[in-house]
């Protein structure tokens, strides 16, 4: 038959998916090997997960890897992750991509929003509140 609209035979996305488990809640999400743990975590759909600078400088997305391996996708500020911490598996979720299945714990400010506890640093009102 006649040719339909041209569809390029190139995959739109190509990456393997790994299971990432948040140990504190037991929740699991899938994360591709071409995306960072934070990009995958944002797809859980919880409100208030602080996606900060997404460039390793601000420190809000700190997690600790309890099992599994990750690869670094860029530099992490030493003001937020020291060498000792890094040796113990502390990383910024925006700067690592999974090499396989991962178990992790959320730390610091991020922990307070993922586990629905108010982050006490600055008064910004209710996360989903409407101020008129």
């Amino acid at each position: 038959m006649g040719t339909a609209n041209q569809i390029d035979n190139v995959p739109a996305s190509a990456c393997s998916k790994h299971a990432i488990r948040l140990l504190q809640t037991g929740e699991t999400y899938m994360c591709g090997s071409a995306e960072t743990l934070l990009q995958g975590m944002a797809r859980i759909g919880r409100k208030g997960i602080p996606a900060g600078c997404l460039n390793g400088g601000c420190g809000v997305c700190k997690v600790v890897i309890r099992s599994g391996s990750v690869t670094k996708t860029g530099a992490m500020s030493r003001a937020h992750v020291s060498e000792q911490e890094e040796a113990q598996g502390v990383v910024l979720a925006c700067r690592v991509a999974p090499l396989g299945d991962i178990d992790l714990e959320v730390m610091g400010c991020m922990k307070k929003t993922v586990l629905n506890v108010q982050c006490g640093a600055v008064q910004t009102g209710e996360p989903s509140g409407i101020s008129k």
């Binding site: 900060g52 400088g57 860029g74 530099a75 500020s77």
Partner: protein, 314 residues
């Protein structure tokens, strides 16, 4: 005489190649110098001095210092005396401490941020020159930022402990460096605690600003664009370059600026904003925002605060 405008900002970056690419391709700056320590100096097309941004290699992000230019060399001596009489220690760094810059009066603001004042920096000219100039040059790249416009510094505030570095910085800038107050945000049961201030020496709504936070840091530094159209185009350029945008194009209530906030590859926050806002003058009455209007002040259209905007900084 006295302080004229922001002269330059020196920041830490963790990946120098990525940082230079960002400031050149996204903002449109040009590298004008690299020194033996690996620091990179850049300027915008509409600036006439040698550089307005210094990138320094580091394992962290954040501010090194911010520098403001004064009109006359003698102003440095007069201001040194006023700063010291106020109780703040100063050091007069000799010429060429920074390449191409004369002597610099160096001290810390009450909040702890380092500020420098200088009178001389090497003149190189804008990209359109001074003789019968075009309004813009042919080789504009990226957003084509005109100039470095201002910075916003996060200052520690803790009312229970009686700490308010926003108020302390504001008082210092006004009493010692002759800055004027354009706008302020007031909080607290009596609406009398300054939680944020915008101050000027030029005729724009702010040359520096201070906002309360749990720790000192750099919230952002900003570059000037002409109009809303340029803001939209800048956002397109950021998307093309996979830049992390913090706040998509919108308007601030405070300063009336049309704005985008985004992060450089080390997580330092930048702003591109357009519009004069209003004519800032020494006799202009102060604009005040109450605590419950803070959302409207920062995000005029939605009136809602974005948590990352207030909590994330380097």
């Amino acid at each position: 005489m006295g302080v004229m405008r922001i002269g330059h900002i020196s920041i830490k970056v963790m990946d120098m190649a990525a940082a230079v690419k960002h400031y050149e391709n996204v903002l449109g700056m040009k590298t004008t110098h690299k020194d033996a320590q690996g620091n990179v100096y850049l300027k915008c097309w509409d600036e006439w001095d040698k550089f307005s941004v210094i990138l320094t290699p580091s394992d962290q992000a954040g501010l090194n210092h911010v520098a403001y230019k004064v009109e006359f060399d003698a102003d440095l001596d007069a201001l040194q005396k006023r700063v010291e009489d106020y109780g703040i220690e100063t050091e007069m760094a000799p010429a060429e401490t920074l390449p191409f810059v004369g002597r610099m009066l160096t001290f810390n603001l009450p909040s702890g941020h380092q500020m420098r004042l200088y009178a001389k920096k090497e003149y190189v000219g804008t990209d359109v020159g001074t003789m019968n100039p075009d309004p813009w040059p042919d080789d504009i790249r990226g957003a084509g930022a005109h100039w470095l416009d201002h910075c916003l510094l996060m200052c520690e505030m803790n009312p229970e402990q009686g700490i308010n570095k926003v108020a302390e910085n504001t008082q210092f800038m006004m009493e010692v460096l002759d800055f004027y107050l354009a706008e302020q945000v007031v909080v607290g049961p009596n609406q009398n605690i300054q939680a944020a201030t915008w101050l000027f020496r030029s005729s724009t709504p702010h040359d520096i600003a201070f906002v309360a936070g749990p720790r000192m840091g750099l919230h952002h530094f900003a570059f000037f664009l002409d109009s809303w159209h340029d803001v939209l185009k800048a956002a397109d350029i950021m998307a093309k370059n996979k830049v992390r945008i913090d706040v998509a194009p919108t308007r601030h209530g405070i300063t009336r600026g049309e704005t985008i906030y985004f992060f450089d590859p080390s997580g330092n926050r930048n702003e591109t904003f357009a519009g004069l806002g209003y004519l800032a003058q020494p006799d202009r009455p102060v604009t005040t925002w109450g605590e419950e209007f803070l959302g409207r002040g920062i995000f005029y259209h939605t009136g809602e605060l974005n948590a990352a905007f207030t909590e994330v900084y380097t």
